[in-house]
Symmetry: C2
Subunit: 189 residues, 2 copies
Amino acid sequence: MNILFKTFINYFSINQQLTEQTKAEICTHLSVLNLDKKHILIKENQYHDFAYFVIKGAVRSYYLKDGIEVNTWFAMENEMVGSLNNFKDKPSRETIELLENSTLIAINFKKIKPLMFTNIQIANFVNAIIEDYALFLEDKAFSSQMLSSMDRYVLLLDKEPKLFQRIPLTYIASYLGISRETLSRLRAK
Amino acid sequence: MNILFKTFINYFSINQQLTEQTKAEICTHLSVLNLDKKHILIKENQYHDFAYFVIKGAVRSYYLKDGIEVNTWFAMENEMVGSLNNFKDKPSRETIELLENSTLIAINFKKIKPLMFTNIQIANFVNAIIEDYALFLEDKAFSSQMLSSMDRYVLLLDKEPKLFQRIPLTYIASYLGISRETLSRLRAK
DNA sequence: TATTTCATTTGATATATGTCACAAAAATCA
DNA sequence: TGATTTTTGTGACATATATCAAATGAAATA
């Protein structure tokens, strides 16, 4: 099996042992992509059949508010990117763009989804991915409701230091929900 | 089968037909509760084995920030309440309290969870609940990042008008992330 | 390397919202 | 019912952050 596929599969099968057959079945719907910076993976308001797993590189997802890009997250090594809306057969809410030349695994969930009703291992595999995402969203909601701008900045710096090495502060400010000027002033302290 | 159990099960099995046997298996781990206003269902920082489905009544979930309660959501008829953290064997982040005398279904997910690895229908049933929750969280993150206080208020009023009939504005303000005075002023317009 | 574009910082000002204080209204309870 | 508690509304003021403007610094490109 492709070593990169293995990385992806292992990442979301800590709770259960997958048979070789199931792994092979999942792999049928995976492919490796090497894409350049600025490539658009997923477009806002469109239907897409794929989610992605970052092997190497960085991506951001954002949507437009009154013509201004609002960044919602940055994914790097060993993180999933995609739209839950797409997974539920609805148009994507966000645009997903590469911030670096990246290696990704494309996951054809349109093909994998129906297998959830026939292969119990796949059902639990997909479930692990979605649970993971829900926990991420909970954290996000928590910090946006509970914390001041300063505290959100400090928390992000603590939990995701690599963001600050690889992602422009303008994007990070937008993610934190503050203007880039305010972020700059917070950092000065 | 208990008619209330049926309501709950039907609610999360639109995507698949459950066999009578599976339904019976799920029901083994359900029970109906009638509890009074102010009862605490789940306590912050504690481990709990149950999630709940509201048949009738209203609950709120909140956590403490510097001694002040920050409301994170209000559930009413046909909504789930619980802590994803508890589901993942971690202590709850929130406290969940009844706002009205309510009828609830208690779901012993500690017992149901292992069945996900042996009963594919149950795996997909639980998955439907978690997907639902993730979509709710996405909406929440979206509106908190994209919308002004005023727009969040208008959106909530439009999508959940019954909240405003049954939940004190103080709690709603806290949920919207603004002071009760500001909400009062927004409403005056 | 020089030139252009993009990212970050800093200053001045405007604005939305928080905070404190108190009054009015509504709900709850004895 | 009357008394007490809770909820909501309004005013005055403080403060954090947005916005606008401009300068500096860094990175990309010819």
